[in-house]
Amino acid sequence: MQINAKIYQDTLYIQIAGELDEHTANYAKMTIDNQLDEAECKQVVMDLSNLEFMDSTGIGVLMGRYKKMKQRGIPIFIANPSVQADKIFRMTALYEVMPKVKEGVR
Protein backbone atom coordinates (compact mmCIF):
# COMPACT_ATOMS: atom_id res chain seq x y z
CA MET A 1 0.00 0.00 0.00
CA GLN A 2 1.48 3.27 -1.12
CA ILE A 3 -0.15 6.68 -1.11
CA ASN A 4 1.25 9.65 -3.01
CA ALA A 5 -0.19 13.13 -3.24
CA LYS A 6 0.46 16.19 -5.33
CA ILE A 7 -1.26 19.46 -6.00
CA TYR A 8 -1.82 20.78 -9.49
CA GLN A 9 -3.91 23.89 -10.15
CA ASP A 10 -5.91 23.83 -6.88
CA THR A 11 -6.60 20.09 -7.22
CA LEU A 12 -5.12 17.62 -4.76
CA TYR A 13 -4.41 14.34 -6.54
CA ILE A 14 -4.12 11.36 -4.22
CA GLN A 15 -2.81 8.22 -5.83
CA ILE A 16 -3.66 5.03 -3.93
CA ALA A 17 -1.45 2.14 -5.05
CA GLY A 18 -1.27 -1.52 -4.01
CA GLU A 19 -3.97 -3.45 -2.16
CA LEU A 20 -6.70 -1.81 -0.09
CA ASP A 21 -8.31 -4.21 2.35
CA GLU A 22 -8.93 -4.61 6.08
CA HIS A 23 -5.20 -5.01 6.67
CA THR A 24 -4.18 -1.77 4.95
CA ALA A 25 -7.33 0.32 5.65
CA ASN A 26 -6.09 2.04 8.79
CA TYR A 27 -2.79 3.02 7.20
CA ALA A 28 -4.69 4.32 4.17
CA LYS A 29 -7.09 6.38 6.32
CA MET A 30 -4.27 7.89 8.36
CA THR A 31 -2.04 8.69 5.38
CA ILE A 32 -4.83 10.14 3.24
CA ASP A 33 -6.09 12.21 6.19
CA ASN A 34 -2.61 13.68 6.68
CA GLN A 35 -2.55 14.74 3.02
CA LEU A 36 -6.10 16.15 3.21
CA ASP A 37 -5.34 18.10 6.39
CA GLU A 38 -2.17 19.66 5.02
CA ALA A 39 -3.31 20.52 1.52
CA GLU A 40 -4.85 23.79 0.45
CA CYS A 41 -7.01 22.81 -2.47
CA LYS A 42 -10.45 23.32 -3.97
CA GLN A 43 -11.08 19.71 -4.92
CA VAL A 44 -9.60 16.24 -4.47
CA VAL A 45 -9.16 13.47 -7.06
CA MET A 46 -8.55 9.95 -5.78
CA ASP A 47 -6.61 8.26 -8.57
CA LEU A 48 -7.01 4.48 -8.38
CA SER A 49 -5.10 3.57 -11.55
CA ASN A 50 -2.42 1.74 -9.55
CA LEU A 51 -4.79 0.18 -7.03
CA GLU A 52 -4.28 -3.52 -7.68
CA PHE A 53 -6.98 -4.78 -5.33
CA MET A 54 -9.87 -3.33 -3.36
CA ASP A 55 -12.79 -4.94 -1.53
CA SER A 56 -15.72 -3.25 0.22
CA THR A 57 -13.39 -2.06 2.97
CA GLY A 58 -12.41 0.58 0.43
CA ILE A 59 -15.96 2.01 0.53
CA GLY A 60 -15.60 2.72 4.24
CA VAL A 61 -12.21 4.35 3.69
CA LEU A 62 -13.46 6.58 0.87
CA MET A 63 -16.78 7.48 2.56
CA GLY A 64 -14.95 8.49 5.72
CA ARG A 65 -12.74 10.86 3.71
CA TYR A 66 -15.81 12.20 1.87
CA LYS A 67 -17.56 13.05 5.14
CA LYS A 68 -14.45 14.74 6.45
CA MET A 69 -13.99 16.93 3.36
CA LYS A 70 -17.71 17.69 3.05
CA GLN A 71 -17.41 19.65 6.29
CA ARG A 72 -14.83 21.85 4.56
CA GLY A 73 -16.94 22.10 1.40
CA ILE A 74 -14.31 20.34 -0.72
CA PRO A 75 -15.58 17.75 -3.23
CA ILE A 76 -13.81 14.44 -3.90
CA PHE A 77 -13.76 12.71 -7.29
CA ILE A 78 -12.78 9.16 -8.23
CA ALA A 79 -10.54 8.42 -11.21
CA ASN A 80 -9.48 5.18 -12.93
CA PRO A 81 -11.09 2.46 -10.80
CA SER A 82 -10.60 -1.20 -11.78
CA VAL A 83 -13.58 -3.15 -13.17
CA GLN A 84 -14.18 -4.71 -9.73
CA ALA A 85 -13.82 -1.42 -7.83
CA ASP A 86 -16.13 0.24 -10.35
CA LYS A 87 -18.74 -2.48 -9.76
CA ILE A 88 -18.52 -1.98 -5.97
CA PHE A 89 -18.83 1.82 -6.37
CA ARG A 90 -21.88 1.42 -8.58
CA MET A 91 -23.69 -0.98 -6.25
CA THR A 92 -23.06 1.32 -3.29
CA ALA A 93 -24.01 4.45 -5.28
CA LEU A 94 -20.70 5.97 -4.23
CA TYR A 95 -20.48 7.96 -7.45
CA GLU A 96 -23.53 9.96 -6.34
CA VAL A 97 -21.40 11.65 -3.69
CA MET A 98 -17.95 11.17 -5.23
CA PRO A 99 -18.43 11.41 -9.02
CA LYS A 100 -16.19 9.53 -11.41
CA VAL A 101 -13.87 11.63 -13.55
CA LYS A 102 -11.63 10.58 -16.42
CA GLU A 103 -8.56 12.49 -15.42
CA GLY A 104 -6.00 10.99 -13.06
CA VAL A 105 -2.61 12.18 -11.83
CA ARG A 106 -0.72 14.14 -14.45
Partner: protein, 154 residues
Protein backbone atom coordinates in the same frame (compact mmCIF):
# COMPACT_ATOMS: atom_id res chain seq x y z
CA UNK B 1 -20.84 -32.61 -7.81
CA UNK B 2 -17.63 -34.26 -8.94
CA UNK B 3 -14.52 -32.26 -8.21
CA UNK B 4 -11.44 -32.63 -10.36
CA UNK B 5 -9.27 -31.06 -7.69
CA UNK B 6 -9.67 -29.81 -4.11
CA UNK B 7 -7.60 -27.91 -1.59
CA UNK B 8 -7.78 -27.18 2.12
CA UNK B 9 -6.00 -24.69 4.27
CA UNK B 10 -6.35 -23.21 7.71
CA UNK B 11 -5.20 -19.70 8.52
CA UNK B 12 -5.27 -17.56 11.62
CA UNK B 13 -7.57 -14.54 11.61
CA UNK B 14 -4.80 -11.96 11.23
CA UNK B 15 -5.83 -9.32 8.70
CA UNK B 16 -2.54 -9.77 6.85
CA UNK B 17 -3.77 -13.26 5.90
CA UNK B 18 -6.62 -11.80 3.80
CA UNK B 19 -4.23 -11.10 0.95
CA UNK B 20 -2.67 -14.52 1.38
CA UNK B 21 -6.05 -16.30 1.33
CA UNK B 22 -7.38 -14.59 -1.79
CA UNK B 23 -4.06 -15.10 -3.63
CA UNK B 24 -3.95 -18.82 -2.77
CA UNK B 25 -7.55 -19.38 -3.88
CA UNK B 26 -6.96 -17.42 -7.09
CA UNK B 27 -3.77 -19.36 -7.83
CA UNK B 28 -5.58 -22.67 -7.29
CA UNK B 29 -8.38 -21.64 -9.68
CA UNK B 30 -5.94 -20.77 -12.47
CA UNK B 31 -5.88 -24.43 -13.59
CA UNK B 32 -9.46 -23.96 -14.90
CA UNK B 33 -8.21 -21.12 -17.15
CA UNK B 34 -10.58 -18.45 -15.85
CA UNK B 35 -10.59 -14.97 -17.37
CA UNK B 36 -8.75 -12.20 -15.52
CA UNK B 37 -12.11 -10.69 -14.59
CA UNK B 38 -13.34 -13.98 -13.14
CA UNK B 39 -10.17 -14.33 -11.07
CA UNK B 40 -10.56 -10.76 -9.81
CA UNK B 41 -14.22 -11.46 -8.91
CA UNK B 42 -13.22 -14.57 -6.94
CA UNK B 43 -10.42 -12.72 -5.13
CA UNK B 44 -12.83 -9.96 -4.12
CA UNK B 45 -15.47 -12.38 -2.82
CA UNK B 46 -12.90 -14.40 -0.85
CA UNK B 47 -11.52 -11.21 0.62
CA UNK B 48 -15.00 -10.20 1.79
CA UNK B 49 -15.64 -13.57 3.45
CA UNK B 50 -12.25 -13.65 5.18
CA UNK B 51 -12.64 -10.02 6.29
CA UNK B 52 -15.93 -10.98 7.94
CA UNK B 53 -14.09 -13.66 9.92
CA UNK B 54 -11.29 -11.30 10.93
CA UNK B 55 -13.57 -8.43 11.92
CA UNK B 56 -16.79 -10.09 13.10
CA UNK B 57 -16.19 -13.75 13.96
CA UNK B 58 -13.15 -13.06 16.14
CA UNK B 59 -13.54 -9.45 17.30
CA UNK B 60 -11.33 -9.75 20.38
CA UNK B 61 -9.14 -12.73 19.66
CA UNK B 62 -7.28 -14.62 16.97
CA UNK B 63 -9.12 -17.71 15.72
CA UNK B 64 -8.98 -20.20 12.92
CA UNK B 65 -10.41 -19.77 9.45
CA UNK B 66 -10.78 -22.89 7.29
CA UNK B 67 -10.74 -22.48 3.52
CA UNK B 68 -11.73 -25.26 1.14
CA UNK B 69 -11.85 -24.96 -2.63
CA UNK B 70 -13.29 -27.53 -5.03
CA UNK B 71 -12.99 -27.26 -8.79
CA UNK B 72 -15.99 -28.84 -10.45
CA UNK B 73 -15.70 -30.74 -13.73
CA UNK B 74 -18.40 -28.41 -15.10
CA UNK B 75 -16.05 -25.40 -14.68
CA UNK B 76 -17.58 -24.29 -11.40
CA UNK B 77 -15.46 -23.04 -8.53
CA UNK B 78 -16.79 -23.94 -5.07
CA UNK B 79 -15.32 -22.16 -2.05
CA UNK B 80 -16.16 -22.83 1.59
CA UNK B 81 -14.91 -20.42 4.23
CA UNK B 82 -15.64 -21.49 7.81
CA UNK B 83 -14.94 -19.91 11.15
CA UNK B 84 -15.53 -20.99 14.73
CA UNK B 85 -16.26 -17.54 16.11
CA UNK B 86 -19.16 -15.68 17.67
CA UNK B 87 -21.64 -16.44 14.89
CA UNK B 88 -24.26 -14.26 13.20
CA UNK B 89 -27.46 -13.45 15.08
CA UNK B 90 -29.70 -12.78 12.09
CA UNK B 91 -28.52 -14.11 8.72
CA UNK B 92 -31.12 -12.21 6.68
CA UNK B 93 -30.23 -8.92 8.33
CA UNK B 94 -26.50 -9.54 7.91
CA UNK B 95 -27.00 -9.99 4.17
CA UNK B 96 -28.89 -6.70 3.76
CA UNK B 97 -26.93 -4.06 1.87
CA UNK B 98 -25.39 -1.40 4.15
CA UNK B 99 -26.15 -3.37 7.32
CA UNK B 100 -23.23 -3.29 9.72
CA UNK B 101 -22.82 -3.83 13.43
CA UNK B 102 -19.71 -1.66 13.35
CA UNK B 103 -20.81 1.60 11.72
CA UNK B 104 -18.56 3.63 14.00
CA UNK B 105 -15.51 2.02 12.38
CA UNK B 106 -16.33 3.47 8.93
CA UNK B 107 -17.58 0.11 7.67
CA UNK B 108 -19.82 -0.06 4.62
CA UNK B 109 -21.81 -3.20 5.47
CA UNK B 110 -21.48 -4.37 1.88
CA UNK B 111 -19.53 -7.61 2.34
CA UNK B 112 -22.34 -10.06 1.55
CA UNK B 113 -23.76 -7.82 -1.19
CA UNK B 114 -20.37 -7.80 -2.91
CA UNK B 115 -20.09 -11.59 -2.58
CA UNK B 116 -23.57 -11.97 -4.11
CA UNK B 117 -22.73 -9.65 -6.95
CA UNK B 118 -19.36 -11.23 -7.81
CA UNK B 119 -20.34 -14.90 -7.41
CA UNK B 120 -23.25 -16.96 -8.80
CA UNK B 121 -24.30 -18.49 -5.49
CA UNK B 122 -23.76 -17.43 -1.87
CA UNK B 123 -24.97 -19.57 1.01
CA UNK B 124 -24.50 -18.66 4.65
CA UNK B 125 -25.22 -21.00 7.52
CA UNK B 126 -24.23 -21.91 11.06
CA UNK B 127 -21.06 -23.91 11.54
CA UNK B 128 -22.29 -26.36 14.17
CA UNK B 129 -22.62 -24.76 17.59
CA UNK B 130 -20.24 -21.92 16.91
CA UNK B 131 -19.28 -19.95 13.89
CA UNK B 132 -20.37 -19.43 10.33
CA UNK B 133 -19.92 -21.16 6.99
CA UNK B 134 -19.94 -19.12 3.79
CA UNK B 135 -20.27 -21.20 0.62
CA UNK B 136 -19.53 -19.48 -2.66
CA UNK B 137 -19.98 -20.83 -6.19
CA UNK B 138 -18.84 -19.28 -9.44
CA UNK B 139 -19.50 -20.71 -12.85
CA UNK B 140 -16.62 -19.93 -15.18
CA UNK B 141 -17.26 -19.04 -18.79
CA UNK B 142 -15.88 -21.21 -21.58
CA UNK B 143 -14.15 -18.32 -23.34
CA UNK B 144 -10.71 -18.92 -21.86
CA UNK B 145 -10.99 -22.65 -22.48
CA UNK B 146 -11.88 -22.08 -26.12
CA UNK B 147 -8.99 -19.68 -26.57
CA UNK B 148 -6.66 -22.27 -25.12
CA UNK B 149 -7.82 -25.07 -27.40
CA UNK B 150 -7.55 -22.69 -30.37
CA UNK B 151 -3.98 -21.98 -29.37
CA UNK B 152 -3.26 -25.71 -29.13
CA UNK B 153 -4.63 -26.28 -32.62
CA UNK B 154 -2.52 -23.48 -34.17
Amino acid sequence: MNFINEMNMTIQSHSINEGFARSVVAAFCVQLNPSLDEIADIKTAVSEAVTNCVVHAYPDCVGEIAVWVGLGEDRTVHIKISDFGVGIEDFNLAREPFFTTKASEERAGMGFTVMESFMDEVTVCKNGEKGVIVYLVKKLSNVAKKAQSRQAND
